[in-house]
């Protein structure tokens, strides 16, 4: 046995047999490797193996090797993929924090610096992020230990997406409840990460939207915690652009404000610019499908133009007159199309299917926005709807393909 243990650079033998041994040159890795035996089968902490495994594989590419034949394992595994999505979310998160502070001080008519805005937002947003992660990961760990499987990495992204889709004024216990709901009923019940047919983060938002409507719509988009010595400015209105959109679209903010994100809304959704940076990261790294992003934009613009043609001429302020490109900027369309619709698990898998899936998301978004003012957040509902239909789209695409091949043969 001893001979098979690999020799390390410092002349000692690695305590763990191949193939799990790696040269422990990094200090963190050395710590991980030294405690590893405790979590192995028969070790005293065996019960917590899923937790240990999650941490280890998150930090380093797992040391598993294939047992038969020669295969190459890509280092770009699920955890690395998820991590890239987190990186892509950072612009929206940072901008969202800044905007929370900016909107807050704007409502009180105070002059503040960039840093003050950011710190205020940081203070308000961080608790939501922490609660979302703590509760969601807690549920995942409980399931992993109960069922004896590994902790799935899926929650890394979901835990960040949930806070970004919520208004900053949301009570923390609601965040916790939605995290439990989406992890248990959105994922674990179907078998965990990769088995869910709907995007869990959107499910969490939909849950809150229907369960606590008063906390998800209305004048809740700006944190109005009192500022000593200052009162709300007279012209203050807590409505988002989607409300203006329904009443009189000409009352909406300017295009540049909506593009850069100087408007009220959920934490991560306001800035189209930040979403575009995220989209660039996702597309360049190959994690997100550019076809879905492009096709959903096409769907929105196409449907927007159709609406313009059909719009009633005698009501010039009707929402149907809204210029088509406004639909790309207003609300959370950019955020949804970039981060939610491209979820590789719940989206369509075939290449043609992705075009159909994306276009339909865009089309339904515009239809719901214009014709159903009760549900202003049309992007959420249309992505969830298309999540449900994605397997059907794939099925039809494959059937069509088979038919075509048979004809050619």
């Amino acid at each position: 046995m001893h001979q098979t243990l690999p020799l390390l650079r410092d002349g000692t033998y690695c305590p763990i047999p191949e193939p799990n041994c790696r040269e422990s040159v990094k200090p963190i890795q050395r710590v991980i490797d030294s405690v590893k035996p405790h979590f192995k089968k028969g070790g005293k902490l065996e019960k917590f193996h899923p937790a240990f495994d999650a941490l280890e594989t998150f930090l380093f590419v797992p040391g598993h090797t294939t047992e038969q034949g020669v295969h190459i394992r890509d280092a770009m595994d699920l955890k690395r993929t998820m991590f890239l999505v987190i990186v892509a979310l950072i612009p929206t998160l940072l901008f969202g924090m800044w905007n929370v502070g900016y909107q807050h001080y704007l409502a009180y008519g105070m002059q503040t610096t960039l840093m003050e805005n950011f710190l205020f937002g940081f203070q308000k947003v961080m608790p939501i992020v922490i609660v979302s992660y703590a509760v969601g990961l807690g549920v995942e760990f409980i399931f992993a230990i109960l069922r004896g499987h590994q902790v799935s990495e899926g929650y890394l992204v979901t835990g960040m997406l949930i806070p970004l889709t919520l208004p900053v004024t949301i009570p923390l216990w609601m965040v916790a409840l939605s995290a439990i709901f989406c992890t248990v009923l959105g994922k674990e019940i179907f078998g965990g990460t990769g088995m869910n047919f709907m995007n869990p983060a959107l499910l969490a938002r939909a849950f809150l939207f229907f369960a606590f409507p008063a906390y998800m719509s209305g004048d809740i988009w700006t944190d109005l915690s009192p500022e000593p010595g200052h009162a709300l400015v007279d012209a203050y209105s807590g409505a988002t652009n989607l409300v203006a959109f329904d009443v009189d679209y000409t009352q909406m903010s300017s295009v540049s404000d909506m593009f850069w994100g100087f408007e009220q809304g959920s934490i991560g959704e306001t800035s189209v610019f930040a979403c575009l940076i995220g989209a660039l990261i996702l597309i360049l790294s190959g994690v997100g499908s550019w076809k879905i992003i492009v096709s959903s934009c096409l769907g929105v613009v196409g449907m927007g133009l159709l609406m313009n043609v059909l719009a009633p001429a005698d009501i010039p302020t009707h929402a149907m007159h809204t210029p088509a490109y406004y639909h790309l900027l207003v609300g959370s369309f950019a955020f949804g199309a970039v981060y939610m619709a491209t979820d590789p698990v719940s989206a369509a898998h075939t290449e043609t299917g992705k075009w159909i899936y994306g276009i339909l998301i865009g089309v339904f978004t515009v239809i719901l926005r214009i014709f159903n003012p009760a549900y202003p957040e049309a992007v959420m509902l249309s992505i969830l709807l298309m999540n449900v239909f994605a397997p059907l789209i794939d099925h039809l695409v494959i059937e069509q393909h088979i038919k075509k091949r048979i004809k050619r043969a």
Partner: protein, 227 residues
């Protein structure tokens, strides 16, 4: 939980006169509560389970109504089973069920008008409840009156059990009350607790039934491969 096996062949008629509460009869009564529950295992009668479970009181009355209808329609059809021509049996069954449903409906209108208004069409719709017709076809047509009656009671109670469990969850989380009595104290509302609006909507009943089925199957190993 019962540990005896339920041989599928126990539908074979027995010649001997059996005791009123023989083992088999008890089984007939008890199986629908868990192993062959009409809602969670046979997935019948879902519509009314979604519609009348917002509060416990209507769910309770609805359950009693359904128990009455299933039990007595099973009994009557079982008594008539040798005289019903096979080709028109569905019509005969419908007439019997319609009679009983009308009785329940009139009774509720006369003595419990408020609940009757809340249940609205769903009392009348008991006639289309798949459980009633399902038990008539599957059991009462080929069994003696007494087991058929017990089977009706069992299935009715199995249905009512789910309805009441679902209604308790929905009323508690949706309105903070059970049977109209406020359970969640005002202090909790003052601290920021809010009733869950989703629980009042019909989809919540599906969630609760789904979780119930999950719990039931993880507990009752007999059900794991039944579907």
């Amino acid at each position: 939980m019962s540990t005896e096996d339920t041989p599928a062949a126990d539908l074979v008629k027995e010649k001997k006169r059996e005791a009123i509460f023989s083992k088999k009869n008890i089984q007939t009564l008890r199986d629908p509560l868990d192993d062959t529950n009409p809602i969670t295992v046979q997935v019948l009668g879902i519509c009314s389970a979604l519609a009348v479970t917002v509060q416990v009181m209507p769910a309770l009355i609805m359950s009693l109504g359904v128990i009455f209808v299933i039990a007595f329609s099973n009994l009557i059809i079982s008594l008539l089973r040798h005289t019903i021509p096979n080709r028109i049996r569905i019509i005969v069954q419908l007439i019997v069920v319609a009679l009983l449903v009308t009785l329940v409906d009139q009774f509720l209108k006369a003595f419990m008008f408020d609940v009757s208004k809340k249940l609205s069409v769903f009392v009348g719709l008991i006639i289309t409840n798949c459980i009633v017709m399902g038990r008539l076809e599957a059991f009462a047509l080929s069994q003696k009156p007494w087991p058929a009656f017990l089977d009706g009671i069992g299935n009715g109670v199995g249905y009512g059990l789910i309805l009441i469990v679902v209604a308790i969850f929905r009323e508690f989380f949706g309105a903070g009350a059970i049977l109209g009595y406020q359970i969640v104290p005002q202090a909790a509302y003052d601290m920021g607790y809010v009733n869950n609006g989703l629980m009042v909507l019909p989809p919540a009943a599906l969630f609760v039934i789904g979780i119930y089925i999950w719990w039931q199957r993880s507990r009752n190993k007999k059900l794991v491969n039944v579907s």
